[in-house]
């Protein structure tokens, strides 16, 4: 009885805290500017299924893709077993679905066990890739400190979780063979892995010890699940949830198409309209929007969703031409900075009300001008991201703020812009000479 109440309390606390955090994340994301991503629904579902569910872009790099797929499949399929754990936990039953599902139950648990072993191996390989092999994208400077610890904590948690599953099933297997399991009868459950290793691991233990090991496995498993769920909003590992909405809201246009600034269009049309009244007062109720982005609230909600979705894998940075040639720019850092600033800014708003100002901003305090001017807008980072994050959109919006609000840019670019304005070419040539090539 006590364990039922304890389970119910834990369930409420875990889901309550997670919901509260999700609401915070949602309100942070909605601080961003509007952008329409609810058109072309069919194409969006297709993108979600292929890119997030099917992990299509991961397979450009087969080895990590395969390893990642093992963990992903185990994670998804284990959710089915969780349903039973919830029912057992709340009703005080033991393996409630075994009776009714029969052979299918054995198949499901066996399948989960095989995937768990594969996930175990994959997790060890991932730990090795990060800490022993030191794959270049995992040892870049932006990962120093918390991001590196975060990544390792997740991998250790996964290993612990899998160990709990095998403690639970392995000890229960031994108990069942001795007719002592809470599941009535005697024999073997016949699960693929635990029926093989159960006796070998726990064969010599007493009945009490076996029950204890089984309970530690069961409670350990569910506590890890609750803990992991609530760790997600604080971690790069949030992608397990957000990859799905993030791919759904992907940019479906050509990558070369940069967003059109409608506020500018209105002004340019006025300038080119011979009938416009140059002294007309602007409408009083219109608060002019800042050009480009200085801080997170100037970005679109999709940029902000991108930042929460980023799992810091660093594929973007590993293909960035600027980063590969030693420049300061790292597209991954752009995403990490955006998220860090968004969390800070969102917390500040909740604490101090909507007029909160802390004198800090994304541009300047997190991302430097040198970083954003190193970008060649080649779209390699956008192409590479396995869950369709777009660091380039943020970089361009930061440039827009610098150029259009602050007039700050490399001097050569100022010259280039002047040339375009004066003579319609980025270089100083007379427009009258445009056809000279045909006479040469």
């Amino acid at each position: 009885m006590i364990s039922l109440i304890l389970f119910a309390i834990l369930l409420v606390l875990a889901s309550g805290f997670f919901t509260w955090n999700m609401m915070k994340v949602r309100s942070n994301i909605l601080l961003g500017r509007e952008i329409n991503r609810s058109d072309r629904k069919g194409e969006r579902w297709k993108t979600l299924l292929l890119v997030a569910f099917g992990q299509k872009k991961m397979f450009n790099r087969p080895i990590p893709a395969l390893l990642h797929f093992c963990i992903y499949a185990a994670f998804v399929i284990t959710q089915i077993e969780l349903i039973e754990i919830f029912v057992d936990g709340l009703a005080g039953t033991h393996r409630v679905f075994k009776e009714s599902l029969g052979g299918f139950y054995t198949f499901m648990v066996s399948f989960i066990e095989i995937l768990s072993v594969l996930a175990f191996i994959a997790t060890l390989a991932f730990l090795a890739r990060r800490n022993l092999l030191k794959i270049p994208r995992f040892v870049k400077s932006e990962l120093n400190g918390w991001p590196k610890l975060d990544a390792n904590l997740i991998l250790f948690a996964e290993i612990t979780l899998i160990c709990f599953i095998f403690m639970m099933n392995g000890a229960d297997e031994v108990l069942y063979s001795q007719g002592q399991s809470h599941f009535e009868g005697t024999g073997s459950f016949g699960f693929s892995i635990s029926s093989l290793i159960g006796q070998w691991l726990f064969g010599g233990l007493s009945i009490e010890s076996l029950h204890l090991v089984e309970r530690i496995g069961w409670w350990g498993h569910i506590l890890m699940v609750f803990g992991f769920l609530n760790y997600l909003p604080y971690s790069k590992h949030f992608h397990v949830v957000l990859a799905f909405p993030n791919t759904f809201y992907s940019n479906l246009d050509a990558k070369g198409k940069f967003s059109n600034m409608e506020a500018v269009t209105a002004e340019v049309k006025l300038m080119l309209d011979p009938n416009a009244d140059p002294y007309a007062a602007p409408a009083a109720d219109v608060v002019p929007q800042r050009f480009g982005a200085k801080d997170v609230a100037d970005l679109t909600w999709k940029n902000l969703l991108d930042s929460y979705t980023c799992t810091e894998c660093g594929r973007c940075t590993s293909v960035c031409p600027a980063n590969q040639t030693g420049k300061l720019l790292s597209p991954r850092k752009i995403m990490m900075d955006t998220r860090d600033r968004l969390v800070e800014y969102g917390d500040g708003l909740r604490k101090n009300g909507k007029d909160f100002v802390d004198g800090k901003s994304l541009l300047g305090d997190y991302i430097s001008e040198e970083e954003i001017w190193a970008c060649t807008s080649c779209n390699a980072c956008v192409q590479e991201c396995p869950i369709n994050i777009d660091p380039l959109a943020i970089i361009i919006d930061l440039r827009r703020f610098l150029v259009m609000e602050e007039s700050k840019m490399p001097t050569e670019l100022a010259g280039m812009l002047t040339n375009i304005e004066n003579n319609g070419a980025p270089w100083q040539f007379s427009p009258a000479d445009r056809l000279k090539w045909s006479e040469e």
């Binding site: 002004e267 031409p321 420049k327 259009m404 670019l413 319609g424 980025p426």
Partner: protein, 266 residues
């Protein structure tokens, strides 16, 4: 030696004055108009257009920068001013179809003008040439000058990743009877030459290497005799990269249009 013959290049205003309407507008672009190296690419395109009897025209002095470098540099005002003025000119001549040899102009005209009211069918010159060959309008000579030569193709970012055009230029290289060798980073994984995003007009930020040098290494690794490109900026960057390694004698940087024009003996 280049034969010194003056090209006949009709302008839109001349066409209009004589009551004619061209089938396609050739958007030359600033590089193609003013850069000495890129002018050769422009001429190659014109020769191909003439050889295929394509009824085309250029805007000549009425053409102006598309605004691409301004937009990439973050100056939306300058971009939209350029775009609106160009759209006025293009719409004034009732232009329907545009071909350009510059992927930056191509991308901007194709993707960024529609929202400002400029709607045209825009194609890259490699797509047009591909079409001219496939429809039999341009015949390639058997055993052309590039037969058996090793050629590698450098994907311009604004043609490839930005607009998913990967095959047209490759198909043209294969039409030369040449051996197309891919660099280790190609197509969607292609490495930028370093000029995009308005970098063409400024010094690179502090680092340990120039991007065009890194890319040229990829090209040199293929042991190709020719680096083919489809972008005047890439052409400049790769040419500089080759000079950096003092390999001008061993490897040439040529636009796909130049390869085709030479092979077709134009």
């Amino acid at each position: 030696m280049e034969n010194i013959q003056q090209l006949i290049v009709p302008t839109m205003s001349e066409m209009m004055a004589s009551g004619e309407t061209p089938d396609i507008l050739f958007w030359v672009g600033c590089s193609g108009s003013f850069d000495d190296r890129a002018k050769k690419i422009t001429k190659a395109v014109v020769k191909i257009l003439h050889a295929c009897d394509v009824k085309f025209a250029v805007l000549g002095t009425e053409e102006s920068c598309t605004g691409d470098p301004a937009k990439r540099a973050g100056n939306e005002f300058t971009f939209q001013m350029q775009a609106m003025m160009n759209i006025q000119v293009l719409d004034g001549y009732e232009v329907k179809k545009i071909v350009t040899a510059c992927p930056h102009c191509f991308n901007t005209l194709k993707n960024e003008y529609p929202e400002l009211g400029g709607n045209y069918e825009v194609i890259h010159h490699t797509q047009l040439i591909q079409d001219l060959i496939n429809t039999g309008k341009l015949a390639m000579k058997d055993g052309g000058v590039f037969k058996g030569k090793k050629i590698t193709f450098h994907d311009p970012c604004y043609l490839g990743r930005a607009n998913n055009v990967y095959e047209a230029p490759r198909e043209l290289v294969e039409k030369l009877d040449a051996e197309l060798i891919e660099m280790k980073r190609c197509k969607t994984n292609g490495l930028c030459c370093g000029a995009g995003g308005a970098q063409m007009f400024k010094e690179a930020e502090k680092g340990n290497k120039e991007i065009n040098v890194e890319r040229t290494e990829d090209a040199l690794e293929t042991k190709a005799e020719i680096i083919a490109t489809g972008c005047p900026f890439c052409n400049t960057m790769m040419t500089d990269g080759v000079k950096n390694f003092n390999k001008e004698g061993e490897i040439q940087v040529l636009d796909v249009a130049e390869l085709i024009a030479t092979a077709a003996d134009l």
